[in-house]
Structures are given as structure tokens and as C-alpha cells.
């Protein structure tokens, strides 16, 4: 960690860097401005992200572009049913002279500078792999070759395939709770953007597309300190604390706040979830968003902007309602913001 001489001036440099990242990545990946914005928030909040979306909307390209812009090392692995934890850490193979040899696997190959680790189709991997990943996410360290590897700059991005259900292992609640955000990567709405994506040859070669993004717009080594400075520098007032607590209550016990959803027994709807860790993540994300907006105070708007991505996957519904989870949780979050008074 470097010594920060003057937090304010340094932070304004970082703010310029954050704006540059968003601009450059958005130039390469069109039609995903909101996702890029949320990823930037996650980067400056040092949180791990679970991406959800259809296949082929550009999740991998987006993450590669982001990793290139941030300037750290990038590694990826694809989840398969036979993937074992050791496959992440070690690479066992035969050398040219026919001897077996064990080299560092994808996780260790880039050393401790690894800044973005992308786990594709995480729900195809087995629970053993999930648990390794949980430890990696929680402690940013892994034991291998009889020593401990630390990854101070690491951020895990995972992608969940939600099309197929066969031969998949659904992430346990504890694992999902550890993700800072769960971001939905949508198909671009704008028809002009869709047309460009299909017909503009620029978007056909993802390697060239990623190469367009300037390398290393940020100083990865300084990110943890900058993230800490943002959390200290952005103020959350007492009124905001009250508001956040009320929102939390509204999501956990919607019936007490008079929230009514169509065709839903509100007494039964929410089984649990919305953990204290989740709410602390929410405030963290809101602080970063306030900072990105150039403010030194958190507003209810900041909470509202990141609420669904940070909180929705932490709310556990009654099994009866689990099948309609998406629209119900969405409606619940919106109703909470419609009911809880601010300030």
C-alpha cells in the first residue's frame, strides 16, 4: 500500500480514472452503460460480482476490457462438471521428455498481481469448487505448493448460466451472499445498437475490440487504499442511517410497512435473508456511487440505484414464490422505495 499524501487530491485523480474507465470500456462495449457503471462501483468498492445474462451478450469481452482498463492481470476459467478445486490451483501435465510435472494453475499462473479472476458458468462447477472460491473471495488467499498465496488486488467475477438446469449445481445461499453484487447483463434495448453489434465488423473480433481499450488506466496497486479512502471520505448522515434501516425492515417484513403485492401473501413471502453483511455492502456501494457522482454525502438515490444489484439476491423467498422470484423481488424492492419515506 502506498502512502497517500493528500486524500482529496488523490481521490480526484482516481475519479478522473474512474470516468476514463467507464468511457473507454463503453466505447468498446456498446449498449451496456449501466452494467459498466455498476462494475466500476464494484471495482472501487472492492467487491466480487456475479454476472447473469443470456449467452453471447458480451460478458467475457466486457470483463476482459475492464481488466485491461484497470490494468491488472486477468485470468479466466470455465466451470465444468468434472472441474475440481485442484484444477484451479495446479496444472498437472507431462513434459516433452515424458515426465509428469505440476505447474501453477490458472489461479496462480499470474502470481499475486492477479486483479480479475473470471469464473465462467460457475453453476456448472461442483460445490467443492464453490467452497474454494468462497475462501478466495472472503480471504483473498489460497494455499498451494505448501505456502499461502495472497491476492491483495483480486476481484472475482463469476457468470451464472441460467438457461440450462441439468448438470448444474445451484450456488448455496452463503455463496451468493458473499457476492457484492449480482448484475444482470441485458440484451441492449436500443435497436440501432443491436444493429451495430450485428453488422459492424468492429464488434466481430473480440480480441481486437479489447485491444482498443487503453491499457492500465488505473494503478491497481493503489486501488485498495483508494477504496478505503472513499469509504472514509463519503459521509452517511443520521437521516440516511434511519432511511437505510427502514428500507432493510421493509424488505424483511414487508407486511409491517404496508407493502402489498398482487396475489402474494405478504406474511409468507420473505423467509429471510437481507443479511447485515448485505446491508453493509449496500452502504458501501452507495458511498462509491455518491463519490462517482462527485458528492461527499450519500443520498437515498445512491441506495436506490444499487439496491437491486446488491440486495435482491440476498432476499430468500418462501418456496411457493421462488418460481416467480425475479418479478417478485423486483416488485418488492420497488415497493420498499415507494413506501419508505425519505428523509
Amino acid at each position: 500500500m502506498r502512502v497517500v499524501p493528500d486524500i482529496d487530491s488523490t481521490l480526484s485523480d482516481w475519479l478522473a480514472g474512474a470516468a476514463a474507465i467507464q468511457r473507454e470500456v463503453a466505447a468498446a462495449i456498446v449498449g451496456q452503460e449501466r452494467v459498466i457503471r455498476l462494475l466500476t462501483i464494484a471495482v472501487f468498492a472492492r467487491g466480487h460480482v456475479l454476472l447473469e445474462g443470456d449467452v453471447g451478450v458480451g460478458k467475457t469481452t466486457l470483463l476482459r476490457a475492464l481488466a485491461r482498463a484497470i490494468g491488472g492481470a486477468f485470468e479466466r476459467i470455465d466451470g465444468t462438471i468434472d472441474l475440481m478445486p485442484a484444477d484451479l490451483v495446479y496444472h498437472a501435465h507431462l513434459t516433452e521428455d515424458g515426465r509428469p510435472r505440476v505447474d501453477p494453475g490458472p489461479l496462480l499462473r499470474r502470481g499475486e498481481d492477479l486483479s480479475i479472476f473470471f469464473f465462467n458458468e460457475i453453476n456448472r462447477a461442483r460445490p467443492q469448487v464453490h467452497s474454494l472460491l468462497l475462501r478466495l473471495m472472503a480471504e483473498r488467499s489460497v494455499a498451494a505448493f505448501n505456502r499461502e498465496y495472497r491476492f491483495p488486488y483480486l476481484q472475482v467475477f463469476a457468470d451464472r448460466n441460467r438457461v440450462e438446469q441439468e448438470e448444474t449445481f445451484e450456488l448455496p445461499a452463503a455463496a451468493r451472499d458473499r457476492f457484492f453484487m449480482e448484475i444482470e447483463v441485458p440484451m441492449p434495448d436500443d435497436e440501432a445498437v443491436r444493429r451495430r453489434l450485428v453488422f459492424d465488423t468492429r464488434f466481430h473480433d473480440s480480441d481486437r475490440l479489447v485491444a482498443m481499450v487503453p491499457d492500465g488506466l488505473l494503478d491497481v496497486a493503489g486501488l485498495p487504499a483508494a477504496a478505503a479512502a472513499i469509504q472514509i471520505g463519503v459521509r452517511a448522515s443520521e437521516a440516511l442511517e434511519t432511511y437505510t434501516t427502514a428500507l432493510w425492515g421493509a424488505v424483511r417484513e414487508p407486511q409491517r410497512y404496508g407493502i402489498v403485492l398482487d396475489g402474494v401473501d405478504m406474511e409468507r413471502l420473505v423467509m429471510g435473508g437481507a443479511s447485515p453483511r448485505g446491508v453493509s455492502y449496500l452502504v458501501r456501494a452507495a458511498r462509491v456511487r455518491a463519490w462517482l457522482e462527485g458528492r461527499d454525502m450519500v443520498l437515498p438515490e445512491d441506495l436506490r440505484d444499487v439496491f437491486r444489484e446488491v440486495m435482491a439476491h440476498r432476499i430468500f423467498l418462501d418456496p411457493v414464490y421462488e418460481r416467480r422470484r425475479g418479478p417478485l423481488v423486483h416488485a418488492l424492492c420497488r415497493a420498499a422505495f415507494d413506501r419508505v419515506a425519505a428523509p
Binding site: S237, A239, L299, F337
Partner: protein, 311 residues
């Protein structure tokens, strides 16, 4: 009742033997008083009063009193009561009130007997018998039995109905009229209070109420707390106007919901900036600087005017 009636002669026989000694020991005299013993008709009540004079200390035993109920097929005993008259002239006085009712329907004047009764008196150690003698009276039919010229229902016996007594209804009419006027008045008051039709417009005027609250707050103290309370009142009014919670970023949504506020856009944005400073920046002084209380009230008045225009 038949069995006790059959027993009476037997008892009387026993009494005949014991009576002189017992009477000498306790009861000194029994006098019976009744109404006039003639001119009685079916259904008449007959009150007999027996005065028993006994030695001091004797009391009538309740168990020996007859129980109210039918005595014979034509005679009912309606009530029995014993009054202790106290001790006078060295003797205890007791009065037994017996109320009978006759149901005998005689075809011609006829003498009937109310049977005699024997009561037991006791002073704790000795007991004595007091015999209330039979009472004879003459009962007659109410009218001649051969029907007259008018037949069964006619004749001079059916009396005309008593005309109904007129009831004074002034008080009730006044009360009805009073509550009749009070009800619509109270209904109207309640409708006004709750903003029902035809006061619907009042419910849709949240800024009017907010302005009143804010004015009160700012006039009362005028400190930072009052300023924040006034801001809060307007926040709730904005929420009510838009039908949802309005945050600073939602001003365009608010203006879409209430187009009448469009000309006030700059002022409304200034309000939200001041509110952000006051509540989330925890800097009420800066907020007052941005939107002084006077300006806040002025904005409130313009919003009230706008909402009235909007209907």
C-alpha cells in the same frame, strides 16, 4: 293435595286430644279478620288476617305455614306472610296474612268455606298449636245465567272501550328534528375532515396542509429543528402529490405526475438541494443559506396555488 286433605280429619282427632293442654301452654287466642263475607265473585282476591296472641317467646314456625299454590280445585293461596307484632300486655302478637283467590263459578248464590289451618308455634323448648278457623263466604254469579235479548255477546254487560289517552309527542318531535339537522351537519363535517366527496379536492391538496404546518413550525421557534420539520412537511406533500416517494432525482417524474408544477421546476430543485444539505449533508445552516425559511414559505404558497389550479 289429596293425601294431606285426607289426613286432616286424622290430625284433627289427635289435636282434639292434645289441644286443651297445648292451648293452655302457649297460644292464648286466635282471631280471624276478613273482608265482607258476601258479594264475592269469581276471580276475587280474599285477604284473611289471623291475629295470634301467644305466650312471649313463641314464634310461628315457618315450616308449618301453608305453601302458596292451589288449595282446592277452586281456591288458590297466592301468598303467605307472617308479621311479628312484638310483645304487648305480656303477650306475643303475631299476624298471619293469607291471600286467597277464588275461581268458583256459582250458578246461584252459594256459601263456600276456606278450610281451617293449624300453625305450630315454638319457643325453643315447647311448641303449641294455633288453629285458624275456617272462613265462610257467599259467592254469587256475575250475572243471570239465562241469556237476555242480546244473546251471549250483547246486553248491557259489554261496556264501551275507554278512549285512548292522548300522548304528548312534542319532546320526541323536537328531538327527531334536532338530530335530523345534526346528522347531515356531522356527515358534512366528517366528509370535510376525511376529504370525501364533495370535499374531494381538499384531499388532493397536500401542500395546503404542508404550508400550514410549515408556517406554524417556523413561527413557533424558527430554529434548525423547525426548519427541518418544515422541509419534512413539504417532502410528505410532494410524496402525496406524486403518489410515491419523491427523491431529489425524481423531480422529472413529479413534474410528469403534476404538470401544474412545471413552472416551479427551478424552485422545486432548489428545495431538494436544500433538503439534501439539511438531512444528508447534516449541514442545516448551508441549507438555510440555499433556501431561507421565507423562500420556503413563498415556494409553499406558489405550490398551494398551483395545486389548487390543478384541481
Amino acid at each position: 293435595m289429596r293425601t294431606p286433605a285426607a289426613l286432616v280429619p286424622a290430625l284433627a282427632l289427635i289435636l282434639l286430644v292434645a289441644a286443651p293442654a297445648a292451648a293452655a301452654a302457649g297460644v292464648r287466642s286466635v282471631t280471624l279478620a276478613g273482608p265482607r263475607p258476601f258479594g264475592l265473585f269469581i276471580g276475587d282476591a280474599i285477604l284473611l288476617e289471623a291475629d295470634i296472641v301467644a305466650d312471649p317467646g313463641f314464634r310461628v314456625m315457618t315450616a308449618s305455614l301453608p305453601r302458596p299454590g292451589p288449595v282446592t280445585y277452586w281456591l288458590d293461596l297466592r301468598s303467605v306472610a307472617v308479621e311479628d307484632g312484638g310483645v304487648r300486655d305480656g303477650a306475643g302478637h303475631h299476624r298471619v296474612r293469607l291471600e286467597y283467590q277464588t275461581f268458583y263459578a256459582p250458578l246461584e248464590p252459594r256459601a263456600l268455606d276456606i278450610p281451617s289451618l293449624t300453625l305450630t308455634l315454638n319457643d325453643g323448648a315447647r311448641s303449641a298449636e294455633a288453629v285458624i278457623p275456617a272462613w265462610t263466604f257467599l259467592t254469587s254469579p256475575l250475572r243471570e245465567l239465562r241469556s237476555g235479548a242480546g244473546g251471549d255477546g250483547g246486553g248491557p254487560y259489554l261496556r264501551p272501550d275507554v278512549p285512548p289517552r292522548p300522548v304528548d309527542g312534542t319532546v320526541g318531535m323536537l328531538a327527531a328534528a334536532g338530530s335530523g339537522t345534526a346528522l347531515p351537519l356531522l356527515l358534512a363535517l366528517n366528509a370535510w375532515h376525511r376529504g370525501w366527496w364533495p370535499f374531494r379536492a381538499r384531499a388532493r391538496r397536500p401542500f395546503m396542509r404542508a404550508l400550514r404546518v410549515a408556517r406554524l413550525d417556523l413561527q413557533m421557534t424558527g430554529d434548525a429543528g423547525a426548519y427541518r420539520a418544515a422541509l419534512l412537511a413539504f417532502h410528505r406533500a410532494f410524496d402525496a402529490a406524486a403518489g410515491r416517494r419523491v427523491l431529489g432525482d425524481d423531480v422529472p417524474v413529479l413534474l410528469d405526475a403534476v404538470p401544474a408544477f412545471r413552472p416551479l421546476r427551478a424552485d422545486i430543485e432548489r428545495f431538494f438541494e436544500a433538503s439534501r444539505l439539511a438531512f444528508f449533508g447534516a449541514d442545516t445552516a448551508a441549507a438555510i443559506d440555499r433556501l431561507p425559511p421565507a423562500a420556503l414559505l413563498a415556494l409553499g404558497r406558489r405550490l398551494t396555488a398551483a395545486e389548487r389550479e390543478a384541481g
